[in-house]
């Protein structure tokens, strides 16, 4: 009986995903009143406000910029690490051991890992002590902390593993004889990577990209702390609304963010058909 196989999962999906999503959608059309709460009417007020504010565009551009930069760096770093683990470490045991090492930072909380950058990047931090100590500069370098740079560093540190894992998984399933065949056919190392390994790791790259982009798009804490409160994200704006019970604008903003993220994910899936890749 198929129903017993999909039943429980469908129920969970319905209760914990579709129902809340429905509520979110309904509330986004309510009218908001800070003093008396929201009024259950049909109003486009929140959406009109959202789409007639230039800042919505700047916020999305800022968040998308971070997503793009972080995606590029985590992809490069993640791919390189996964490649090293799969194709350069000969012993499977050592490869798994090194892979586990990559997860060590995840034994502490996100917040600790993020905040631990502050004493390193600060004006009197380790890097600036070195810069001044070595006589490279007399003044501490200020842009290391509370800047876009600091935000990107934190994101990369926090999210690279989400790129490593799926790519590692895809690469591990590549038939090693294909590499030998490429070499026999006269392909150099770079050409082998580009024409054999990258296409065969596509599903991993796609999954990792989805993880990283979605995580950056949904963040509000890292960007706040590491930019020293001088950058916002789409979500941090939603948070400000919730702080004073302005639920309808927050809901409208969430619905739009959801649409944007779904479009991005669909875009990625259009380039790489993960189902087919995984099935194959």
């Amino acid at each position: 009986m198929r129903i017993f196989q999909v039943g429980p999962f469908s129920l969970a999906l319905l209760l914990f995903f579709l129902v809340p999503l429905g509520v979110l959608l309904v509330v986004s059309f309510f009218e908001s009143d800070m003093i008396f709460g929201m009024r259950a009417t049909f109003s486009l007020e929140s959406y009109v406000e959202l789409f007639t504010t230039w800042n919505t565009l700047w916020l999305y551009l800022s968040t998308l910029k971070f997503a793009a930069i972080v995606w590029a760096i985590t992809l490069l770093v993640g791919f390189t690490i996964a490649y090293f683990l799969v194709f350069h470490v000969r012993s499977l045991l050592i490869a798994i051991g090194l892979f586990l090492l990559c997860t060590v930072p995840f034994w502490t909380s996100n917040i600790i890992r993020m905040i631990s950058w502050i004493p390193l990047l600060g004006k009197q931090g380790l890097i600036n002590q070195a810069v001044i100590g070595l006589g490279i500069s007399d003044e501490p370098v200020a842009w290391l902390l509370f800047s876009d740079f600091a935000v990107v560093v934190s994101y990369v540190h926090l999210f690279t593993l989400f790129m490593i894992v799926p790519i590692f998984n895809s690469m591990a399933r590549i038939d090693k004889t294909l590499i030998e065949a490429a070499r026999d056919a006269g392909a150099g190392r770079l050409r082998t990577v580009w024409e054999v390994i990258v296409p065969l790791s596509r599903s991993g790259i796609a999954l990792g990209s989805i993880f990283v982009i979605v995580l950056v798009m949904g963040d509000f804490f890292v960007v706040k702390v590491m930019s020293g409160g001088q950058r916002a994200s789409v979500v941090s704006n939603i948070f400000e609304d919730i702080n004073v019970l302005l639920y309808p604008p927050a809901a409208a903003s969430s619905v739009f963010l959801l649409i944007v993220v779904v479009l991005i994910v669909m875009g990625v899936l259009r380039v790489v058909d993960i189902r087919k890749q995984l099935a194959g």
């Binding site: 800070m34 003093i35 008396f36 709460g37 504010t53 800042n55 700047w58 916020l59 800022s62 502050i118 004493p119 600060g122 004006k123 009197q124 931090g125 200020a142 902390l145 509370f146 706040k224 702390v225 020293g228 409160g229 001088q230 950058r231 916002a232 941090s236 704006n237 948070f239 400000e240 609304d241 919730i242 702080n243 004073v244 019970l245 302005l246 604008p249």
Partner: protein, 438 residues
């Protein structure tokens, strides 16, 4: 907003299960250790429901909703008091959607503006509060030390009374229906590092001074920072607001634009969002001047970094809390809640909170629970005759230190405005987003 987060001595949600056995035991110990004064003060509490299993839930923000208070109250009273800590958004959410889950709401003044019309509270009868006439006149009468207290922002007096027993409308003036009993309150100003600055700082406009370019911090809490910014702008003499606490849209635009200009010049090292961040900015030497909350300055000094909570000519920005009774309370539970409010004013709580640098609605009774020199230090602004320790026994200041800002009267005679929630708050948020994308 305004999360005056005390360094996390508390966890996210604290509930204190208490059995009668332990309670009786603790009562015995307390008596044995000689807190006779305390026991005497406790004498007046009715004990008719001594055998009842009543739990009173006190919910609020981390700086005033401390587990030690619930432990002590449970020890002293014949029922259990439990504490739930949440952030501002969570608190407002619970107040409006699950108000039955709270008995006593310990919330900030401005939060009443948006929660009272929703009918979640019941009126408190001042006659049932033993020390009502001793509660601070700042809340009760809108007067302090013979002067009118500033009404800019959400001032305590403006939200202390309901119009009637229906408890859905805030009264303009006094009535027999109190919205709350005055709770923890304080005054904020700039924190500075005197040695790094090397000259006296006496005015708010110094926060905008180019001299501190890249070494200054503000808050990333729009309704509070807008007030500090307004204090700075008025201090430069550029503009005088009709009411800083309730600006017009033009005034909001002008004020936030000023912050944006400063940001573009690289003036702000950071705009902080939590208590801990403000402490770290000072301790790590990132900034030498910033908007700061009084206990944060103490926390910086406790780490060996000289830091002053700087009184300024234009005065302070005040903030405050109060304890409200939720509408669903009735019968014995209502009686127990009143007993808890009376306990709250009986002295122990006043001393406990005063030793952390805050003030409580009723101050006088705290004297019984503080050493005379502690009272003189915290309330009278006199030099400490002995070491000043926080209620957990950690040393805060050495003997001889004088509290920044002086006595309680000195501080609160100079409140220029209060933390607020403006009518144009939504517009402020929109404008604030511009600051962050600038």
């Amino acid at each position: 907003m305004g999360d005056h987060t005390k360094k996390s001595k508390d966890s996210a949600a604290m509930t204190k299960p208490a059995g009668l056995t332990r309670r009786t035991l603790l009562k015995g110990t307390a008596a044995a250790t000689g807190l006779v004064a305390g026991s005497a003060a406790m004498g007046g509490f009715p004990t008719i429901w001594a055998q009842e299993d009543i739990t009173i839930n006190h919910s609020g923000m981390s700086y005033s909703t401390l587990i030690q208070i619930a432990e002590k109250a449970t020890e002293d009273l014949p029922f259990t008091v439990e504490m739930s800590v949440t952030d501002h958004a969570g608190m407002l959410n619970r107040l409006t959607t699950q108000s039955d889950s709270i008995d006593v709401a310990d919330i900030e003044l401005w939060m009443r503006v948006i929660t009272v019309p929703r009918g979640v509270y019941q009126a408190i009868d001042p006659a049932k509060i033993k020390h009502w006439d001793k509660t601070t006149s700042i809340y009760r009468e809108g007067q302090f030390a013979g002067n009118q207290v500033s009404r800019q922002g959400v001032s305590p007096y403006e939200v202390t009374y309901f119009t009637d027993g229906d408890a859905k409308e805030i009264a303009d003036g006094e009535s027999d229906y109190a919205t709350m009993i005055p709770g923890v309150f304080n005054a904020d100003t700039l924190g500075i590092q005197p040695q790094a600055i090397g000259r006296p700082i006496n005015n708010w406009h110094e926060l905008f001074n180019d001299e501190f370019n890249g070494r200054a911090a503000g808050m990333d809490i729009p309704p509070i920072m807008i007030m500090d910014a307004a204090m700075c702008i008025e201090s430069t003499g550029e503009y005088k607001y009709a009411d800083k606490g309730n600006m017009t849209k033009d005034e909001i635009s002008m004020t936030v634009d000023r912050l944006i200009d400063l940001k573009k010049k690289g003036h702000w090292r950071a705009l902080w969002g939590t208590f801990d961040q403000s402490v770290q900015l000072m301790v790590s030497g990132e900034v030498v001047i910033e908007s700061m909350w009084s206990p944060a300055v103490t926390a910086v000094r406790a780490q060996g970094v000289p830091c002053v909570y700087q009184p300024l000519e234009e005065g302070y920005r005040g903030w405050g809390n109060g304890l409200s009774l939720m509408r669903h309370l009735e019968g014995k539970r209502l009686g127990a809640a009143y007993d808890y409010l009376n306990w709250y004013y009986s002295g122990w709580m006043g001393a406990f909170i005063a030793k952390q640098g805050y003030y409580l609605g009723v101050a006088e009774t705290a004297k019984n629970y503080m050493k005379p020199y502690e009272w003189d230090y915290w309330y009278e602004g006199k030099a400490a005759e002995g070491d000043i320790n926080d209620p957990y026994g950690t040393n805060m200041e050495k003997a001889g230190h004088v509290r920044d800002g002086g006595s309680f009267v000195d501080r609160f005679s100079k409140i220029a405005c209060w933390n607020t929630l403006m009518d144009n708050h939504q517009f402020l948020l929109k404008k604030w987003a511009e600051l962050q994308t600038a």
